[in-house]
Symmetry: C2
Subunit: 346 residues, 2 copies
DNA sequence: CCTAGAATCGCAATCGATTGAATTTTTCGA
DNA sequence: TCGAAAAATTCAATCGATTGCGATTCTAGG
């Protein structure tokens, strides 16, 4: 590890620092410049063009902070990732980047900046601090984690906030997500159809969404008269940890499950590898189904069957609802249909 | 897909909107409140505590925009992901989330916000616009992509900017990254040692870093007298695309390579699956080595040998250098040693 | 009890852009 | 050519917090 010098930079000609300087350079008042730059109809076309050209020539752009203060808007949307149910979790989860990428694109398109924060809720006021800081015009929260209470409390006083995750009848906050209960049901039903009688659920049900997926599995098992066949293993979402946990779990010889419902594709991937290393063949010996249908699901060996959540549609909905809330509207939550994707692992 | 109503929210008691209101409520001047809240020594301990308590009781936090304007700082660092060499690329690459997570943690710890932007450089002024918008105190750019010229030009006038990626002797901008040439050399040498005489390089060398890795491979091959044994296949970083490309490439029967150097772990993953589906056994038939050593590399079947870049150290260095640049220092670039990690795929 | 000097606190300018109201300039019909 | 309406521009207040400087209060020594 060593340092290398960079070629040294060049100086630069004088620059316009604010709207006032640009104004006296153009021989008009600051107000006129402001209106010209913002395409106000109150300015004659010729001076507007003149000022715009001048601004372009000096590549001047009005100060965003000053504008924000006056307008009382920041032009930024906060995207929060609460890591409550899993302290010390590093988001190695590709789910986040997929969602983040979609949000970043859509927000940029709408002219908003994206402020990213990972929050590890130490106390109950973490969300209030962010809301009251006045740094964002609205908030998108990815996953309730185990913080539903906090979300509900804040949602009661702060409108421009939308949450990706599960939906419960009594919740106050506006959410977007797939029907996790139905998704879990779909997954378990699929395994049952394939002949599985003993099924393991891998995932930590403390997170709202995952708990709902588990309930869905339970319902499917009950319907099939297999209520006793479901085992829950609260595998962590962290890939490395899940790895050894799953291996240990599957070591329980004769009661080995015939099917695995993983709480996410990443957990499923961990399971696939653990199984492969123990010489257990998927899907012949054990069938595995994931959740999310990330791009990764196509890359596993064998290709992963999974429950698809349409993240593209989800991201679009999150932003649509948020913008409407910023505009003052009171929007309902959105629950999307999950879809069973059958590939090679079941 | 359907909507569900949320429970309606409650009203709230009157709230302090600014420092002035808090001041008259406390019977002091706004200036005093400001000083009290910012722990200025010019205020007596008792009034300071009194005001702080009052602020806490009304959970009042001074407006960030106003503060920013006055202080001439935003408290935010921009993180940019240029997607130049690959139009339409969706960052499904776990590399980004790994880096982003590390940066988010470290920046939060330093009291900075993180503003994320994905940029698809349409013209040559994309970076100037961001710099001049005045929305951030500094910039971290992840990967030069094919935009080195733009980076150099802007670096000449804008100091608080650090780039993750490759380093060239003539570059103007400050960069942090591993020695890609040496990394490529390491990868190819390892395969050569294992007996490979025909090696394929998978990755698009238009991106600076990847081009350097390729050069490293070339050097290793030349040293071993195998200059003719290297084939380059410009596989896209996009997982799905890489998939079919790689499969097509490996269909070229008798000249099939004995080893594959993938430009990243994600590309390597694609290769592994393509091989597996064609019944080609790794490492017996073909050896595969990746680059990055992401968490994913532990989850592939078989576990992926790879060239490790210490992203934790890298992220820390990016931020350290950036903060020093913000403070006015002129920092050199940092080149870290890559490390060969041998697992099961070679 | 008086006063120098330190400890607190208030006053008012400032950051840079926006915008309603006032003012000046232009336009155009009579 | 005059004057009123319309168009263009200027003026000045405002957003909310920070901070140098001046004013006031307090402390303590003589």
């Amino acid at each position: 590890m060593f340092f290398r010098k960079n070629v040294s930079p060049l100086p630069k000609p004088t620059k316009i620092r604010n709207i006032k300087e640009l104004a006296e350079l153009a021989g008009v008042s600051p107000g006129t410049v402001s209106r010209a730059l913002s395409d106000s109809g109150l300015i004659s076309a010729k001076t507007r063009e003149r000022i715009k050209d001048l601004a372009a020539k000096h590549d001047f752009r009005p100060n965003a902070m000053a504008r924000n203060l006056r307008i009382q808007k920041t032009g930024a949307i906060g995207v929060l990732i609460p890591l409550g149910h899993e302290t010390g979790q590093h988001i190695s989860d590709p789910f986040f980047i997929t969602m983040l990428g979609l949000l970043a694109d859509a927000l940029t398109e709408q002219g908003y900046d994206l402020m990213l924060s990972r929050v590890i809720p130490s106390d109950t006021g973490w969300l209030d601090r962010i809301v009251d800081s006045g740094r964002v015009d609205g908030l998108i929260i990815i996953g309730q984690s185990d913080q539903s209470a906090v979300l509900d409390r804040v949602a009661a006083r702060y409108r421009p906030m939308v949450v990706w995750g599960g939906h419960t009848p009594q919740q106050v906050h506006c959410s977007v997500g797939s029907d996790n209960f139905k998704g879990g049901d779909l997954a378990a039903s699929h395994l049952i159809e394939r002949g599985c009688k003993r099924i393991a659920f891998l995932g930590d049900p403390k997170a709202l969404e995952i708990g709902q997926r588990l309930e869905g599995c339970r319902a499917a098992m009950a319907r099939a008269g297999l209520s006793d066949g479901l085992t829950v293993f609260p595998a962590h979402l962290v890939a490395e940890a899940a790895q050894s946990d799953i291996a240990a779990f599957l070591g329980t010889g004769q009661h080995r499950p015939q099917g695995i419902v993983a709480a996410s594709d990443v957990v499923a991937m961990s399971a696939l590898r653990a199984l492969s290393e123990r010489g257990i063949v998927v899907p012949d010996d054990i069938r595995v189904i994931g959740y999310d249908d990330l791009a990764l699901a196509e890359l596993t060996v064998p290709r992963l069957s999974t429950i698809r959540q349409d993240l593209t549609k989800g991201a679009a909905a999150l932003i649509d609802l948020l913008l409407r809330r910023i505009a003052g509207e009171d929007t309902p939550s959105l629950v999307m249909e999950p879809e069973l994707i059958v590939r090679m692992s079941t």
